[in-house]
Structure formats: structure tokens, C-alpha cells
């Protein structure tokens, strides 16, 4: 039914909405049918390793408000799709393993590490990168606060810090608890401890943490003031 050695036809049904344009030239390495749980490990290079062509796939998504359709190797992470295919290099590759947060973007309203997700998994998704928040001529309030409080040094983790910072204030507002939230049943507040804990997935080796916190505090304060003004019955 499914012939991976001649996938052009069979994969058409397999890859939703995708035009498969390449085929495997040899059987996958684990030709013995690996279970879908984590039971069977792979040796680094046991014996001859088959050579396989990339599998191409098309994905359509919205990035910073603009519709994009990309034809890409299935292996392409969202991060590399942004940086290499769309040339949106504001999102940084710091570790490529979910250990630093430099690649943080906001997908469908949530911050995620774009290095640990495949672009192909985001069909129809909406991505906001640092470029989508503001421009040098028109900075987002968080970007402006980072400049004012010197919330960066080398600048490499900065886009991820800013995307995270924007999302963190939303997460607090949405009542999502954190490790330092004292009472699980009360709404968390934008305290220093809350912001520090929630930002901890964004490593800054230059050590701008104290300044980033000040930038966030300023923006959180502005947001609170705006909300209060908005609620003013007058």
C-alpha cells in the first residue's frame, strides 16, 4: 500500500496539502519498523547508512501579518524557516536545542522556542517575530523600554527576550501560575519575582537581567495604568 521507495504517488495522500517532490533512494535506516514509543534506540552509525533525498513539503502560514507559502525540506525548523527562507533574521539561533530562548517567537498568541518545532507543523499558523513588534523608527513599547533601561548588551538574545517579555506580561494577565506564585488559586501579579521566574527561559550571558526586569516593570506599569484608565467610568 505504501511504498517508500517510490513515494511520489503514495505520499500525495500522506502529506496533507503538500507536493512531495523528492523520494527516498533507500529504505529508511530502521527498516525493521520501529515502534512509535521510545523503545528502540538508534546507534550513531551502525553499518552502512542509507542516503535519502530530502522530503519537500509546502506550508502556508502568516508571519508578522503577511501570508507566506514555503516549499521546504520537512526537516526545516520554524527557526530556520524564518531565518533562512524568509530572511527574518531577527529571531536568533543561540543553541538550537531549546536551552537558551534566543529563538523565542509568538505563535498563535503563545511564546515558543522556534528551534524545537518544525515549520511544517504550523500550517495555517500565525507567527509574530521581533520584526513584527516594531521597527527602529517605530519601536514597540517593550523595545523602547529595553533601549531606555539598557536591557541588553551584545543584542543577540534580545529579540527573544523581548518576545518573551511581551508574552510574559500577557501570561500574568491571563492568570497563568508560575513556580513562584504563592497561591495557586489567586491571580498572579507582575512582581519582580514573577517576572524573573517567567523570563528564566531566556538566557542572557551578558547579564542584562537586572535591566530587563526594569524595562518590563516599566511596561507592566504602563499597561496597568492603561487598563485602569480604560476602566474609568468617566
Amino acid at each position: 500500500m505504501r511504498n517508500h521507495g517510490n513515494a511520489d504517488v503514495s505520499r500525495r495522500g500522506l502529506l496533507l496539502g503538500a507536493a512531495a517532490s523528492a523520494a527516498l533512494t533507500a529504505t529508511p535506516r530502521h527498516g525493521q519498523a520501529m515502534p512509535a514509543d521510545a523503545d528502540v534506540p538508534s546507534a550513531p552509525h551502525p553499518g552502512p547508512v542509507p542516503i535519502m533525498n530530502p522530503v519537500m513539503n509546502r506550508v502556508s502560514l502568516t508571519v508578522n501579518g503577511a501570508a507566506q507559502t514555503l516549499e521546504m525540506d520537512t526537516r526545516t525548523t520554524l527557526l530556520d524557516a524564518l531565518r533562512e527562507h524568509l530572511r527574518l533574521t531577527g529571531t536568533k539561533k543561540g543553541c538550537d536545542h531549546g536551552q537558551c530562548g534566543a529563538c523565542t517567537v509568538i505563535v498563535d498568541g503563545r511564546r515558543i522556542n522556534s528551534c524545537l518545532t518544525l515549520a511544517v507543523m504550523h500550517e495555517g499558523g500565525s507567527v509574530t517575530t521581533v520584526e513584527g513588534l516594531g521597527t527602529p523608527a517605530k519601536l514597540h513599547p517593550m523595545q523602547a523600554a529595553f533601549v531606555k533601561h539598557d536591557g541588553y548588551q551584545c543584542g543577540y538574545c534580545t529579540p527573544g527576550q523581548i518576545c518573551s517579555a511581551v508574552a510574559v506580561l500577557d501570561e500574568i494577565k491571563a492568570g497563568i501560575p508560575s513556580h513562584v506564585t504563592a497561591s495557586l488559586t489567586d491571580a498572579p501579579q507582575a512582581t519582580n519575582a514573577e517576572m524573573r521566574e517567567r523570563m528564566s527561559g531566556n538566557v542572557c550571558r551578558c547579564g542584562a537581567y537586572s535591566n530587563i526586569l526594569e524595562a518590563m516593570t516599566e511596561v507592566a506599569g504602563q499597561k496597568m495604568a492603561d487598563q485602569q484608565n480604560g476602566r474609568d467610568p468617566a
Binding site: I51, P54, K92, H97, A137, V147, K148, Y209
Partner: protein, 731 residues
């Protein structure tokens, strides 16, 4: 401009722009993701292919066989580069190990191959298809085991003053303690990365490099091509901390790959490769002996340090500060270097002083306790205003005592209970610690070119780099001050080997020297302007975008109405650094809380009071200090490249395994700069601060942990397992 006499009053002293807390001029680019880093330069050259480096699977030995056949025919693969087809390579002056290994392997994850392919995914996959057979050899990987065989390093003789052994033996109060610091990684956020492009025999490297001119020279030596055929471009660098002082395998392999592929190639080191492929701060074993009178006067001070490196490498100069920091008539410092087959040891932020003070300043704390003295008083009592090895050679400025006194007052040091383990708040044991900070001020020549155009815009060009240090902004401030224009009338272009050769970024020498070079070029430009405007009288006055002399005031831009005026100059130094010891000082104060049950150590407050000459931009200088304090906190509490002593590699070679501080680890940090100008250092009267902030902070943390718990940890990092057995019994 030759700087050989102390600076008199000069245009910088106006302090209209210099010395003002100033937002970074590169801030809008960095915060919007539009500042371009090396790997991202889609704009500079078309048709870039992707390179992926394969690292050695063994630490020491030889490649007996390498099969690249499968990789070569893998989809998308354009070329595979190994030592076999790379041609004859030299080695750069600043590299210890070869950047491309094979057949000899010198350390784990040494590059052995580069696969160039159409896409990153293809290159990475094909690299996994290379089969390498190794003949592993036994290596030395354990510093403690190699300690006895360590020898005096070339050019690093022991320093002796008086009779250390005699005075130490005779001292009524003695301390003899041994400390260890582990291997540490720079772990800058931007991995080493390069795009290489050849145009005929000319090579351009868009790369992440702190020292452009060193880089040009080392690429020249490694590839055996003339320096004039090489261009390095590094306008933005995502952190360096010494890890990007030198050309690394990304640059070499990209250049080789581009040659073989016949098109531009870009290469970034993967994070798991970085820790063993590149350099690190070497581990040390440090023995410190201090002898003092009962009144607390140091009569003998000795500091010996053992470290290891690959053959031909250098010692970690952990004894440096001990030659200068405290008084004492009888002195000894010594360094011994063992041959280790671990990855290459080299400079990391404040090499020498950072690990050296982690030991010395705990020893001072221990000694103060033995003497029954307050640790601040003990340090103040042993302050010196001259080089203790060369009596009569003064410090240009030395406000260590003032740093300590002000710090104590601001931090509430008087509230510290000197008896350890006596303050408890709920489940937390609370303690305070302090340490002196010390880092030398290095002067070195630095050049710049400045251009005035018909719009009155001043453009500065120098190969100086900004690695997060705030260089763009302080250079702009310097040019604005000197030329009498507002900051937005200055453009700064950095990090290009086509620009005049600067001091580069390292050793906290960048700020003072690079701005002094810009100052020199601006002073030359002022002369051209004056000549052009026909101001022959006394030195004209440059202010508010105008030039005035003898009652005449004309717009500065007028001088360039017939075409740009360009001036180039460099700062060069005489022997003021020989006549005077030039150093920077700090008092570090830390409060910690230690979980009485688990031993988890959390920082509560940090303060640094710094004396470092004129502070050119208090905003970015403060950031440099808090950043260094953060790195120092990491060194104190968590950072350790764990060595597998059987297999010879750093095991925790990623950012999950090698923990550096995160937001939640760092409390509010306060930084105070003492009012200081140092006319001995340069026309800027400034010194560096970027490394001072890490110097001493680790010891302050360790001393605070001691004060909190009564546990004296002498082996860094100070982790919970080292205090756990000594915590209070639990009910």
C-alpha cells in the same frame, strides 16, 4: 598622537556628551532584530552554501581512516573538506591547537571535516554520513594528577620579593589554604559563525571576532595568503568574553569550504560542539599562604597556581593580582603549567584575575577571621599606594579603600554578624560577604579615521568592535564631544579590516584605548577644519555644530563645503604605564540566603563600588559591571565544565548541562562609580570596567555562603552538595 605625559585639560573635559548616561545608539537596531550578525548576512553576497562541521570523537590520537564517500554523494552536498584535501595549513599565532585536525587529533571535538551543501539540513545530515576510524591514544586529562609534573611556563618566572619562606614561618598568624576553580565556558549567546567568500585570491570573512587585526594576521598565517588579500567584517558580535578573540574553526572551515565549493559558504558552530571545539577558561589549583602580625599587617604573601593546557599553551595567570593588590614585604608568586589533552585553554573575561581573586579573596576572608578582624578593616590595613614589588612606583589612582568604605556603608555591612551561621529567616540561613575587585588597565595603540561632510555629519571608522560593551556609543560620544556636535551628528562604523587598526575588544582595554584613538583622529580633523576655515589664531572652539575663533563663528559643515575632510590618527603611548601602575578597583558586596534544608544558595543583593577612571557612559558601563557580576555569580555557584577524566572531554557540552545564571538567579544589582579621572591613563582619563565587575565577585559570594552557613567551600563552584552535610539537623 603620542601620549607620554599626563593629560592636561582637553576638549573631553567639557563633558557635554561624554560622561552622560546615554542610550546606546545601536539600541533601536538590536531591539528590533535588525542589527546584522555574522551568520545572517543574506545581504552581502549571493548564492551562499551551508557548511556543517564534524568534530572529533576522541580526545587524543590519530584518524586511521576516513570515509567521506557517502557524504560526498549525499543529496545537496557540494564539497567535503578534510585535512587531506585542505592543502598545507599554517597555524595562527593566537591558536594553540590546529583548527582543523587530522590525521593527528589534539582534543575532543576538534574539527575533522566540513560538509558543504545547498541547505543546512543537507549539510548536517551528510556530516553524519562520514565514517571516521580513530586510533585513540592515552592522554592527560586530570589537572590534580598532572600537578606534580607541571613546569614553569615560558616567560612566566616566579616573582619573589624579600624572604617569603622566612617571613611566613616567623609570622605569628598564618594561613595556608588551597583552592580550586574549574574549567569554565564563555557560553556567549551567538555561536561562532562566519560567511566566507572568495573573489579570485581575495577572501572576505563576515565573522564574529573581537580582534579584527589579529584575525587578519592569523587567517593569513593559517591559509598562507597575504594579509592584504583578507578582509574581516564584524559589525555586530553576539558576545565574546574572550571566546572570539581568535579565529576559530568556523572561519577557517568556511574559507576552505568556499574555496573548494567555488561559492560563498556559511558556517556556525553548533552549541553542543562549542564547548570542546573552542577555548575555555582553564581550571586552576591555587595555594595561598599569608603570614601576618597579630595586629593584621601582612608580612608574607605567597600565591602559587597550577593549570593545564595543550602542548605549547599558556598558564592561567591566576597569581597576577597578588603581586599588586596588598602590601607585604616578603612575597612569592609562582605558576606551574601541566600538559593536558583537554580542549585549548585560553582567555575568558578577566583571565588571571577572575579565578585568582576567587581564591585570594577567600583567603583574605579566612585570614581576617583568624586575626579576629573585620575583613574590610584587614584589607584597608594592608592597602598600598605603590607597587608592592617595586617600592616608589605609584599607582596612577588607587581608591580601593574608598570603594570598600562606601560599599560597606551602602550595603549595611555593619549589620553583618561576623559569627557564621547566626542569621536565620524562616528556612533560610542568611549571610553577607565581600571581596576586593582588581583588574589592570592596559594601554595599547589604537587608530581611527574621521570624516566631516558637507551636512556637518562626522563619521568615525575604526576596526574596533562592539561585543556588547557599548563601543558604538562611547565612540560617538567621544567624536561628538571633540568635534562639538550633537550625538546624532555622528555615525560610527566598526569592525571592518578596511578601517584603521584599533586596540580591539579584550582585557577591558577597549573603551579607553579605542576612544583615545578616536579622540586623536578628531583632534587632527579639528586642525584640518581650522585650516580650511582660515582660523590661524589660537585654537578655535568647537561647540554646538559651530567653530569659533577670534570672534568669528561659522558652521562646522562649512569646512566640508568643497568636499569631505578626512583625518586619521592613532593614540600611542609612552612609558606612563611603566612609571605608574594603572589598575581599576572595586568593592564587591553580596548577600546570600541558603536553604537550611537543601543547601540551595540564592543571591539576595549584590553591590559593586568601582573606581575605574572617568566613566564615559555611565549607563553602558553600569551594564558591563552588572553583566560581569552575573557571570561572576555563575562562576561562584554553578559553572563547571565537567571533565570526563577517562575520555578527556567536557561532558556537559550544551546549555542544559553547562548552567549559566538565568533571570531567577540574579537579584537587584547596584553599581556605584566613584568620581575619578585618571590623567595618567589616556587623554580620555578613563580606564576599563568590563572585567572589573567579575573580579572578586565570586569570592564575595563564597564568603557570604560561609557567613550564612559556617561552611568554607574552597572548591568552586559552591554547590549545595558541598554544604549539605554541615547544615543544621532537621527535626
Amino acid at each position: 598622537m603620542k601620549f607620554d605625559t599626563p593629560a592636561a585639560a582637553n576638549p573631553i573635559d567639557q563633558l557635554k556628551v561624554v560622561g552622560k548616561a546615554t542610550d546606546r545608539i545601536d539600541g533601536p537596531l538590536k531591539t528590533t532584530g535588525t542589527a546584522p550578525y555574522a551568520y545572517e548576512r543574506h545581504d552581502v553576497v549571493a548564492n551562499q552554501a551551508h557548511g556543517f562541521i564534524l568534530g572529533s570523537a576522541i580526545a587524543k590520537g590519530r584518524i586511521s581512516r576516513m570515509d567521506i564517500a557517502a557524504a560526498k554523494v549525499a543529496p545537496g552536498v557540494i564539497a567535503v573538506v578534510t585535512a587531506e584535501n585542505a592543502g598545507t595549513l599554517g597555524k595562527g599565532k593566537w591558536n594553540t591547537a590546529a583548527l582543523l585536525g587530522g590525521p593527528e587529533i589534539q582534543h575532543y571535538h576538534q574539527a575533522v571535516a566540513l560538509v558543504v551543501a545547498e541547505t543546512f539540513e543537507q549539510a548536517r545530515d551528510a556530516a553524519g554520513l562520514i565514517k571516521v576510524d580513530y586510533q585513540a591514544e592515552a592522554g592527560a586529562y586530570d589537572l590534580a594528577a598532572a600537578r606534580n609534573g607541571a613546569t614553569v611556563a615560558k616567560g612566566e618566572p616566579d616573582s619573589t620579593v624579600g624572604d617569603f619562606n622566612g617571613a611566613y614561618t616567623a609570622a605569628p598568624v598564618q594561613l595556608d589554604a588551597t583552592y580550586t576553580t574549574p574549567d569554565q565556558g564563555h557560553a556567549m549567546m551567538e555561536p561562532h559563525a562566519t560567511i566566507a567568500a572568495w573573489n579570485g585570491d581575495k577572501l572576505t570573512l563576515w565573522t564574529a571576532n573581537q580582534m579584527i587585526n589579529w584575525g587578519v594576521k592569523d587567517v593569513s598565517q593559517t591559509l598562507n595568503i597575504p594579509e592584504e588579500n583578507i578582509r574581516l567584517i564584524s559589525p555586530y558580535i553576539g558576545g565574546g568574553f574572550g571566546g572570539k578573540l581568535f579565529v576559530r574553526s568556523d572561519a577557517l572551515m568556511a574559507a576552505l569550504g568556499a574555496k573548494v565549493a567555488g561559492r560563498p559558504v556559511k558556517v556556525a558552530l553548533t552549541r553542543p560542539l562549542m564547548f570542546n571545539n573552542t577555548t575555555h577558561r582553564p581550571a586552576t589549583i591555587q595555594r595561598i599562604r599569608i603570614g601576618a602580625t597579630r595586629e593584621g599587617r601582612i608580612t608574607a604573601i605567597g600565591h602559587e597556581s597550577w593549570s593545564g593546557d595543550l602542548p605549547g599553551g599558556k598558564p592561567e595567570t591566576a597569581v597576577q593580582q597578588t603581586r599588586l593588590l596588598y602590601a607585604g614585604a616578603n612575597r612569592l608568586t609562582a605558576m606551574r603549567l601541566a600538559v593536558l589533552d583537554l580542549p585549548e585553554g585560553n582567555a575568558m573575561r578577566a583571565p588571571g584575575e577572575a579565578p585568582g581573586l576567587m581564591a585570594l579573596e577567600v583567603a583574605m576572608d579566612e585570614m581576617a577571621e583568624k586575626l579576629g578582624m573585620d575583613p574590610i578593616q584587614f584589607r584597608i590595613l594592608n592597602d598600598t599606594q605603590e607597587d608592592p614589588e617595586k617600592p616608589g612606583r605609584p599607582y596612577s589612582q588607587r581608591q580601593l579603600t574608598e570603594c570598600l568604605r562606601q560599599g560597606a556603608e551602602r550595603f549595611g555591612w555593619a549589620k553583618r554578624d561576623p559569627k557564621p551561621a547566626s542569621v536565620r529567616e524562616g528556612r533560610w540561613l542568611v549571610g553577607m560577604g565581600m571581596a576586593a575587585g582588581f583588574r589592570n588597565n592596559l594601554v595599547t595603540k589604537s587608530a581611527a579615521r574621521v570624516r566631516l561632510d558637507g551636512q556637518g555629519m562626522v563619521t568615525v571608522e575604526t576596526d574596533m568592535t562592539d561585543i556588547g560593551t557599548g563601543t558604538y556609543t562611547i565612540i560617538a560620544q567621544t567624536a561628538a564631544e571633540t568635534m562639538g556636535v550633537p550625538l546624532d551628528k555622528v555615525a560610527v562604523r566598526l569592525g571592518d579590516s578596511n578601517f584603521p587598526v584599533s586596540c580591539g575588544s579584550g582585557g577591558q582595554w577597549g573603551a579607553n584605548n579605542s576612544t583615545a584613538g578616536v579622540y586623536a583622529a578628531c583632534m587632527k580633523l579639528r586642525q584640518s577644519v581650522a585650516r580650511k576655515l582660515g582660523f590661524n589664531a589660537a585654537e578655535p572652539h568647537f561647540a554646538d555644530g559651530h567653530v569659533s575663533s577670534g570672534g568669528h563663528t561659522v558652521p562646522l559643515a562649512q569646512a566640508a563645503k568643497d568636499g569631505d575632510l578626512v583625518a586619521e590618527d592613532q593614540i600611542e603611548y609612552g612609558d606612563l604605564d611603566k612609571k605608574y601602575q594603572q589598575s581599576t578597583f572595586a568593592g564587591h558586596f553580596v548577600e546570600v540566603a541558603v536553604d537550611s534544608a537543601t543547601g540551595e544558595i540564592r543571591l539576595r543583593r549584590m553591590l559593586a563600588v568601582c573606581a575605574a577612571g572617568r566613566i564615559l557612559n555611565p549607563k553602558s558601563a553600569r551594564s558591563q559591571v552588572i553583566g560581569a557580576m552575573t557571570m561572576g555569580a555563575g562562576a561562584a555557584l554553578m559553572e563547571e565544565l565537567a571533565v570526563d577524566k577517562r575520555r578527556g572531554f567536557f561532558v556537559n557540552h550544551d546549555l542544559a548541562g553547562y548552567e549559566v545564571p538565568v533571570h531567577a538567579d540574579i537579584p537587584h544589582q547596584e553599581v556605584v562609580f566613584l568620581d575619578e579621572v585618571d590623567p595618567i591613563s589616556s587623554p580620555m582619563k578613563a580606564k576599563g570596567v568590563g572585567e572589573l565587575g567579575i573580579c572578586g565577585v565570586g569570592a564575595a559570594v563564597a564568603n557570604a555562603v560561609y557567613n550564612a552557613t559556617g561552611v568554607r567551600v574552597r572548591d568552586y563552584p559552591v554547590t549545595l552538595d558541598k554544604v549539605l552535610d554541615h547544615l543544621p539537623e532537621m527535626t
